[in-house]
Symmetry: C3
Subunit: 330 residues, 3 copies
Amino acid sequence: MYQVTSRPQPEVPMIHGCFQGKDIVSLDQFSVDDLSILFNVTGKMKQIAVNNEPSRILEGLLVALLFFEPSSRTFSSFAAAVKRLGGQTLEMQNPEAVSSVTKGETFEDTIRVIEAYSNAIILRHRISGAAKQAARAAEDVPVINAGDGNNEHPTQTLLDLYTLYERFGRLDNITGMMAGDALNSRTIHSLLRGLSLFGNNTMYILSPNQLSLSRDEVVSLQDRGLRLIEIHNEREIPHDCDFWYWTRIQKERFSSAEEYQQAQHEIVIATPELLKTYAKKDMILMDPLPRVESVDPAVDADERAVYLRSQIRNGLYTRMALLALVLGRI
Amino acid sequence: MYQVTSRPQPEVPMIHGCFQGKDIVSLDQFSVDDLSILFNVTGKMKQIAVNNEPSRILEGLLVALLFFEPSSRTFSSFAAAVKRLGGQTLEMQNPEAVSSVTKGETFEDTIRVIEAYSNAIILRHRISGAAKQAARAAEDVPVINAGDGNNEHPTQTLLDLYTLYERFGRLDNITGMMAGDALNSRTIHSLLRGLSLFGNNTMYILSPNQLSLSRDEVVSLQDRGLRLIEIHNEREIPHDCDFWYWTRIQKERFSSAEEYQQAQHEIVIATPELLKTYAKKDMILMDPLPRVESVDPAVDADERAVYLRSQIRNGLYTRMALLALVLGRI
Amino acid sequence: MYQVTSRPQPEVPMIHGCFQGKDIVSLDQFSVDDLSILFNVTGKMKQIAVNNEPSRILEGLLVALLFFEPSSRTFSSFAAAVKRLGGQTLEMQNPEAVSSVTKGETFEDTIRVIEAYSNAIILRHRISGAAKQAARAAEDVPVINAGDGNNEHPTQTLLDLYTLYERFGRLDNITGMMAGDALNSRTIHSLLRGLSLFGNNTMYILSPNQLSLSRDEVVSLQDRGLRLIEIHNEREIPHDCDFWYWTRIQKERFSSAEEYQQAQHEIVIATPELLKTYAKKDMILMDPLPRVESVDPAVDADERAVYLRSQIRNGLYTRMALLALVLGRI
C-alpha cells in the first residue's frame, strides 16, 4: 500500500501496530500499516468463517454488546463475529429501557458496571462522541465504536475498504463514484477519509445539488490528497470507475416533505440500464445497506453487485479480525 | 409405519430422505419414511438432553432466530435445541422494532443479510407464506418455519406426532379426539394432516357447532384416508380414544364479545371428571399450550396428562433432531 | 466465623451444606457454615474470572434467565456468571410482552415450560413472593431468586457479605454504617439480617427521621443479636466504622413531590469531605448501585470506594459460585 504524508491528529491514540487493549473509536486511529495488518488477519478470519471451522480464538472471553440505539445489522454482525471465534456475548439492546439508566444512573457508571463483567464493550449510541466518552470511562477493557450518532462508524468503513482491497489488491490508484446523500451520509464521509490515506485516488460524487458535500469537507479531503469531482447528473458519470458506492437518502434528515420529494426526484438510482451504459465489466457496485431507493433489486443478479455478497460478509470478517487483534488473541 | 398412497403436491421440495440444506416450510414435505428418520434421531437427541451430555454436534455453527412475532415457547425451545447441541444462536426478537426494517428495508434483504451471518434461519412471522418467501430469498442457508401466521407450524406437529409415536410405537391404527376450536386451530389442522399420512386412523372432533372444521377441510382429510367423526357434546365422547388433544379457543378470532361468550359457554373443558367418565387407563391427554380454558389444572397430577411432561420436552428433542439433520451434522 | 444461636425459621429448606438442586429463594436459607462454603468457592471463581480461564464447569448446561422486571445489572451479572463457567443461557427479558403470558397463561405454566428446556431458572419479578411460587411450580430444576419485589434479593446480600469478608477476613466484630432510605431499602434490610447471623456486630443507621427502620425491623434485628444505633445527622457519624454502605432514596416510594424533596434535603451524601472528616484509613465505602444522590462521583478515585471495583465484581464471583454449587458441578 502507498502512504501519503498528510495525516489527521487523532484525539484517541493511534494504533501504531499494537491493537491489543486499544479503544477503537475512530477511523483516524488507523495508519496504512495498521490497515495492512488488519486486512491480513481479515483474510484468515474469512477462511474460518467460510469453512465453519470451530474456533477457540476468543474462548473464555465475554464481549458486551451495548446498543443504546437499534441496529440489527451491526448488532448481528458483531455478535456473529464473537461467536464464530468461540467467544461469548453479553447482549444489551435498548439498555435505556431495561436498566439502571431509568433509575438515573449516569452513562459512565453504566459503562463501568458493564466493563466489570466483560472483556470488551461494543457500543452503539445515538449521540456523537459517546464512544470516546465510554472509552474514557472504561479503564480496564477496550471499547469498540459500532456507530455513535453522526460521528463515526469505523468498522463500516473498514469493511468497505477491505471489500475494495480484496477486489483490487490495492487501495491506491482507484477511481470510484459515490452516489446519494453526500451531505449527510456518514459512510460516504468516512470512506472518503479512509481512501484519502492512500495515493492517487479519484472520487466522483454524484448527488443532487442540495445534498452535495459541504465545502469544509471538500477542502479537508483535497488537503489530504484526494481528487474529488462533484457531479449532479446521470450523464456526467464517467465510464472508468473501479467501483460505485450507492447510499440511500435519509428521509428523517429533511425539514419538509417537499424538500424530501424534491431530492427523491433528483436522485439517481442504480438500475441495470445505468450499469449497462456507464459501468466497466470489472467494477463492483457497493451499498452499505439498507437500500431504499438506492439500488434497484433488478441489479442483484449482476455479478458486479457485491452488497449482498462479499460486502456484507466482509463486515463479519473484518469485525472478527478487529476483535481478535484488540483482545490480543492473534 | 404404514403409508397410504394419497399424498399432497407440495410447493416446496419433499425431503425424500435428504434433510441436509433443505428448507423446512411445511409438514407436507415429510413422507412417512422421512418421519421415521426424524423420529429415530429424536430418540438419540432425547438421550443427550436428558443426560445433559455436552454435545458438539452443532459446534462452530450459528443459527439465527428471527422472530417477527413473539412466541416465548417456540423461541426458547429452538434456542435450547441449538445450544444443547453445542451451537450458537443469533437472536433477533421483534426485528421490526430494532432493525433496518424501520428504515424501509424489504423482507428479502433482511433475510439475505441474516443468512450472510448464519448457517440456518429459524423464522417466525405473523404473515402466512412468510416462511416460503424467506426460503426463496435465502440462497445459501436453510430456513425453518417456526410458525407463519395461520399457515403452518410444522415443528409443532412433528412434536405432537413424535409424542404419539413414542407412546404407542406406531402412527397408524390410532383413535383420537381433538377438542376446542377446530375451525381456527392451526395445530388441529396440521396434526390431522400429519395423521392422514398413516392408515386406519379415526379422529373425533369435539367442538361447538360454529367452530367445526370447514367442509373443505373435512373433504380434503377424508380424501387422504382419515376417518373423521364430528361431535358437539360431552356425552358423545367415545370411551376408546388413545389420546385427547385439547386446544384453547382464541378470543382474538371472534368478531364480537357475544360470539366469544357463546363459544365459551358451549366449549367442553378437560376436567378430572371428564377423564374419569370417558378416558381409557392408557390414553394420553395432550395440549399444545398455552392452555386457557382448555385443560383444568386439576388434571395436571394425572399421569395421563403429558402436556407439561413429555409433550413439551419432545418439542426440544424433535427440534434438536431437525437442526442436526438439516445442518448435515447427523 | 462466629455463629450466634438465634436463627429464623425459614419457609424454604435450609441449605445445610448441600447446595445441589436447592432453590435459592431467601438469605434465611444460609447458615454460617453455608456462607463459609459459598465464600470459599467464590474465591476460586474469582481466580477463573480474573485470569479469563476457559472453564467447563457448567458445560452442557442451560440456565434460563427469566426477567419479568428489567434489571440490567443483575441480568448481566448472572448471564456473565453462566457464560464464564462455560454454560449457556436462555434469555427472556420482559416475557410478559413476548410470550404466552399475553395469551393468558398462568405464571406456574410459564415456569413449568421453561424448566422443561433448562437446568436452572434465575427469576426476577416485581411481585413479592414470586420466587417461592416459582420454586414450588418447578419440580425438576432449581430456581434462584434474582429479586422479587420488595421481598428478597439474596445474591445482592451474598456479594455484600463477601465484599466485607474478603476485606476483613471475618463477618463478626464489625462496626458499620448504612445510609440512605433505611425504611424502604431492600439491600439494607437484607444485609442487616445477614450480619445478624454473626456475633458482636454494631451497625449505625443514618437516615432522615421519616426514612428510619421500622420498629418491627429494629426489634427483630436486636433479637437476633445485632447492635443497632440510629442516627439522623452527619455530626453523629462515628469515626470507627469498618465500612459505610450508601443507598439512594427511591423517588417512586414517595406519595408526593414535597415529601421527596424534603427527604432529599435531609439526606446525607457521601462526599470527599465526609470521608476526610469521619472515615478511617482502612474502611471501605460500598454502594449497591445505581447511585443517584448517594455517593458523589468525586469519591470514585478514593481507594476506599469499592462499589465500582471489588463490590460489583464480587457480584459476578458469588453468582458463579452459587450456580456451580446449586448445579452440582463443584
